[in-house]
Amino acid sequence: MLEVQDINLFYGAAQALRGVSLTAEPGKVTCVLGRNGVGKTSLMRAIVGQAPVAKGSVRFNGEDITTMAPSERARRGIAFVPQGREIFPLLTVAENLETGFAPLKRADRFIPDDVFSLFPVLDSMMRRRGGDLSGGQQQQLAIGRALTMRPKVLVLDEPTEGIQPSIIKDIGNAIRYLRSKGDIAIVLVEQYFDFAKELADHFIVMERGAVVMSGDGAALEDPDVRNRIAV
C-alpha cells in the first residue's frame, strides 16, 4: 500500500536520510526504531510530504506521490500524528477534531465514536481550547484528530510520548483494533521498545539516517535490535 524507496532527505546541507526504504501493508503495523536523531521523524515527514525528498520515491497504492502536496496525500488517506503533537492551539477540541473533515464527503463529516471511547477525556473537553490541554491530553487529541480522517495509512510518530500508562495501554489496544479491521496500514515510530515489540508486524531500525536492520515482528526478540537502539 505504502512504499518508500531509497529516499534521501536534506536539511540545508545536512543529510538526514540516506537511501531509506520502508513498506506498509493494510492490517499490519510497521515499526520504525532508532536512537535520537537518527532520522525517524524525518522519514515520517517525507512520507506525509512535510519535507521534500531529494532522491527516491514514495508510492501510495501504486501512485507516485513523491512530490505531491501534503494536503493531497492526506486526501488520499494518509493521516499523521506528529511528534510534538502540533495541536491547533486556539481551536477548541471539537474544532481540532473537525479539521480532520477536510478529505471527507459531506455525509461522513462526523467524529467517529471510536475516538471518544478511546479517549473519553476529549469528550468532556470539547469546548476547551486545544492549546490549553495538558501535554498528554494534546497527544490524545492528536491521535483522535487523525482518526477522524478515516485514514488508510496512519503514521504515528512516538504516539505514547507523555501519555499516562493506562492510556498507553488503550492506544496499544486501539492500534491492535485498527489493525484487526484490516484496512489500515500503520507506521509507528516508537522508542518504547516493549510497546513496539507487542505491536510490530514489521520493523526497521535506523542509524545515522539509514536503515541498518529490518525484519518482521518476531525478529524484534533478537538482542541485536536492542543493542542497536541502546547507546
Binding site: 506525509v48 510530504g49 512535510q50 502536496a69 501534503p70 494536503s71 496525500r73 492526506a74 486526501r75 493521516a79 499523521f80 506528529p82 502540533e86 495541536i87 491547533f88 492551539p89 486556539l90 481551536l91 474544532e95 473537525e98 479539521t99 480532520g100 473533515f101 477536510a102 478529505p103 481550547r129 492549546g131 490549553d132 484528530r145 480522517m149
Partner: protein, 540 residues
C-alpha cells in the same frame, strides 16, 4: 449701502410682501400688477438690482412671480437681447416669456441672471413670503420657521393674520413660536406678554431658542430677564447633556469608520499574521472602484445613481479580493513563517499600488457622490444624526457580524483559522492550504475594499487615501487584541468615542495626542490588548 440698512430693507420687503399676499388671499382676488419694472431690473447683471427685483416681485402679487423666483433659484432665468429682456429657459433650451410662459418670438443670445449668496437668501425670503399662504401645510410651516429665524418685527402683523386663519396644529405651533421669537425682542410690550413668549421659546429648548432668549433687550423688566435667565440656564443644562450624547454619537460614528478601516486588517494581520502595509491601499482600491462605478453610471445609466454604492460593494469586494489573491499567490505565500519580512514586501506593494493609481487616475482627488439616501440629516430629540454616518455605522456592523459568522460558523472559516495557526499540520489534515491562504488574504483584502466604498463617502478618493488609515487601523487591531475580532470591534468603538469625548476639551490635535498616549499606557496595563487571547499556547 451699510449692512444694517440692507438688512432692514430686505426685512421690509419680506414683510410687506407677506401682508400684501395675505390680503390678496383673503379677498380671493389677485390683482396682476405691472412687474415689468422688476423684470428689467433683472437684466442689469448686478446683485443689488436682482435683490431689489426679487422684493418687487414678491410684492407684486403677480401669479407669474412664483414661477420667476423659482426659475431664478434653478438658474433657469436668463436675459439677453436688445434692449435686454428676461426669459425663462424652458425644457430643451427654449426661451419662454416669463409672464405668459409662451415661447418668445425671437431667440437672442442669453446669459443666466447671476446669483450669489445674498440673492439666494432673498430668493428664500421671497419664497417664504410666497409660501406662508401656500396651500401646502409643510411649506407654510417652513415659512413660519423661516420667519421665526429672521425674528423681524415687521413680519408680525402678517404672521398674526396667518395665525388667525391657520387650522393645522403643527403649523400653528410653528407660527406661535415664530411670533414669540419676535415678541421677545420687541419694544413696548408688557412684561407678562414677554414672559409668555420667553416661556414658549424656552420650551423649545434648542440652540436657536438659546439665541432668541439671549436677545431679550437690556431694557426689559427684571422679572422678564429673570425668567429668560432661568430658561437659558435650563436649556444650557439640557443641551449639555444632549451634547454629551451627541459626542458619544460622533464617537460611535468615528469608531465605525475605524472599524471599517481596521476590519480587513483584522483578517490579514490579526488572523494571518501578515504585517500588511498594503492594507490601506486595498481600502483605496475599493474607493476607486466606487469612483469607476459612479463614473460608468453617470455616463451611461444616470438613473441608477442612487444604487451606485450597492453596486459598488460587491464589485469592490471582488476586485480588491482578486488583487489580494494575486498578491498572496505571487508574494505573500513565500513568506509564511517570516512575518516580519511581509512588512518589507507589503510596503513595496503599497508603493507600487499607490503609484499605479496615480498613473492611471492622476494624483488628484476623484469625485465620489453621495446617493440621496445617504445625504441629509435628521434629529432625534436634540441629537442631530446625519444619514450618511448612520448608514456607515449600520454597514460597519453588518460587515463585522458577517465576517464573524464566516470565521466562526463556516467550514472555510475553520480552515482559515487552522491554516493560520499551523500551516504545516493543516496541510497534513488534508486542508488545501494554498487555496485557504489565498481565500483568507482575499477575504481580508475584499473586506478592506468594501470599507473603501464606505470611506469614499466621507474622505478623499486619492492615491493617499490608504496611507491615512493604515496607522489607525493597526492601532485599532492591536489595541483590541490581535487575533480577536471582538477586540477589533470594541477597540474601534472605544477609540472613536474616547477621541470624540476628548476633542471638545483638548482640541483636535491635543486630543489625538492624548489618545495615543492613553493607548500606550493602556498597553502597559494589558500587554496583549483589550481582548487578549489567553491560554498556554500564547504565554510561551
Amino acid at each position: 449701502m451699510t449692512s444694517s440698512a440692507r438688512l432692514f430693507r430686505l426685512a421690509r420687503v419680506l414683510c410687506s410682501a407677506l401682508a400684501l399676499l395675505l390680503a390678496a388671499a383673503l379677498v380671493q382676488r389677485a390683482e396682476a400688477q405691472d412687474i415689468s419694472a422688476a423684470l428689467s431690473q433683472l437684466t442689469t447683471n448686478k446683485y443689488d438690482d436682482t435683490e431689489a427685483a426679487l422684493g418687487a416681485l414678491a410684492l407684486s402679487g403677480s401669479p407669474a412671480a412664483a414661477g420667476i423666483v423659482s426659475a431664478l433659484a434653478d438658474g433657469k432665468l436668463v436675459f439677453g437681447g436688445l434692449p435686454p429682456r428676461v426669459f425663462i429657459e424652458g425644457p430643451g433650451g427654449a426661451l419662454l416669456d416669463p409672464l405668459t410662459m409662451q415661447p418668445a418670438a425671437d431667440a437672442p443670445a442669453v446669459k443666466p441672471v447671476r446669483v450669489n449668496n445674498r440673492v439666494r437668501r432673498a430668493i428664500e425670503a421671497a419664497n417664504g413670503a410666497l409660501s406662508l399662504v401656500s396651500p401646502d401645510a409643510g411649506k407654510r410651516r417652513e415659512a413660519a420657521l423661516a420667519v421665526g429665524r429672521s425674528r423681524d418685527e415687521a413680519a408680525l402683523p402678517a404672521l398674526e393674520m396667518a395665525l388667525a386663519k391657520e387650522s393645522d396644529p403643527k403649523v400653528k405651533s410653528a407660527m406661535n413660536l415664530a411670533r414669540a421669537s419676535i415678541l421677545i425682542a420687541k419694544e413696548g410690550i408688557t412684561p407678562a406678554e414677554r414672559i409668555a413668549a420667553v416661556e414658549l421659546v424656552g420650551a423649545e429648548g434648542n440652540q436657536d431658542a438659546l439665541a432668541i432668549l439671549r436677545s431679550v433687550p437690556e431694557s426689559a423688566a427684571p422679572e422678564v430677564k429673570q425668567a429668560a435667565a432661568v430658561a437659558i440656564e435650563g436649556i444650557e443644562r439640557n443641551l449639555a447633556m444632549w451634547g454629551m450624547a451627541q459626542n458619544v454619537w460622533y464617537g460611535l460614528s468615528l469608531g465605525s469608520v475605524l472599524l471599517l478601516a481596521a476590519i480587513g486588517l483584522a483578517i490579514t494581520f490579526g488572523v494571518m499574521g501578515v504585517i500588511n502595509m498594503a492594507h490601506g491601499e486595498m481600502v483605496m482600491l475599493g474607493a476607486y472602484t466606487t469612483f469607476v462605478v459612479q463614473e460608468v453610471i453617470r455616463t451611461s445609466y444616470p438613473g441608477l445613481f442612487d444604487a451606485s454604492l450597492l453596486i459598488a460593494i460587491p464589485l469592490a469586494f471582488l476586485f480588491t479580493g482578486l488583487i489580494g489573491v494575486l498578491i498572496e499567490r505571487t508574494v505573500i505565500r513565500f513568506l509564511y513563517g517570516r512575518a516580519l519580512e511581509t512588512l518589507l514586501a507589503t510596503w513595496g506593494i503599497s508603493l507600487i499600488l499607490q503609484q499605479a493609481i496615480r498613473t492611471i487616475f492622476g494624483p488628484t482627488n476623484r469625485e465620489v457622490g453621495a446617493p440621496s439616501w445617504m445625504s441629509g440629516s435628521f434629529e432625534i430629540g436634540h441629537l442631530s444624526i446625519t444619514s450618511g454616518r448612520l448608514w456607515i455605522i449600520v454597514f460597519a456592523l453588518l460587515v463585522f457580524f458577517a465576517l464573524l459568522a464566516t470565521l466562526r460558523l463556516t467550514r472555510i472559516g475553520l480552515e482559515m483559522r487552522a491554516v493560520t495557526q499551523n500551516r504545516r499540520m493543516a496541510a497534513s489534515m488534508g486542508i488545501r492550504t494554498n487555496w485557504v491562504d489565498a481565500m483568507t488574504f482575499g477575504l481580508g483584502s475584499g473586506i478592506a475594499g468594501i470599507a473603501g466604498v464606505a470611506l469614499s463617502q466621507i474622505d478623499n478618493v486619492s492615491p493617499n487615501l490608504g496611507q491615512s488609515y493604515i496607522i489607525d487601523s493597526f492601532l485599532v487591531v492591536v489595541f483590541g487584541g490581535v487575533g480577536n475580532l471582538w477586540g477589533t470591534l470594541v477597540g474601534a468603538m472605544t477609540l472613536g468615542v474616547a477621541n470624540k469625548l476628548l476633542e471638545p476639551y483638548a482640541g483636535a490635535v491635543l486630543g489625538k495626542i492624548a489618545l495615543l498616549v492613553i493607548v500606550i499606557l493602556f498597553i502597559q496595563k494589558r500587554p496583549r490588548g483589550l481582548f487578549a487571547l489567553k491560554g498556554r499556547s500564547i504565554e510561551t
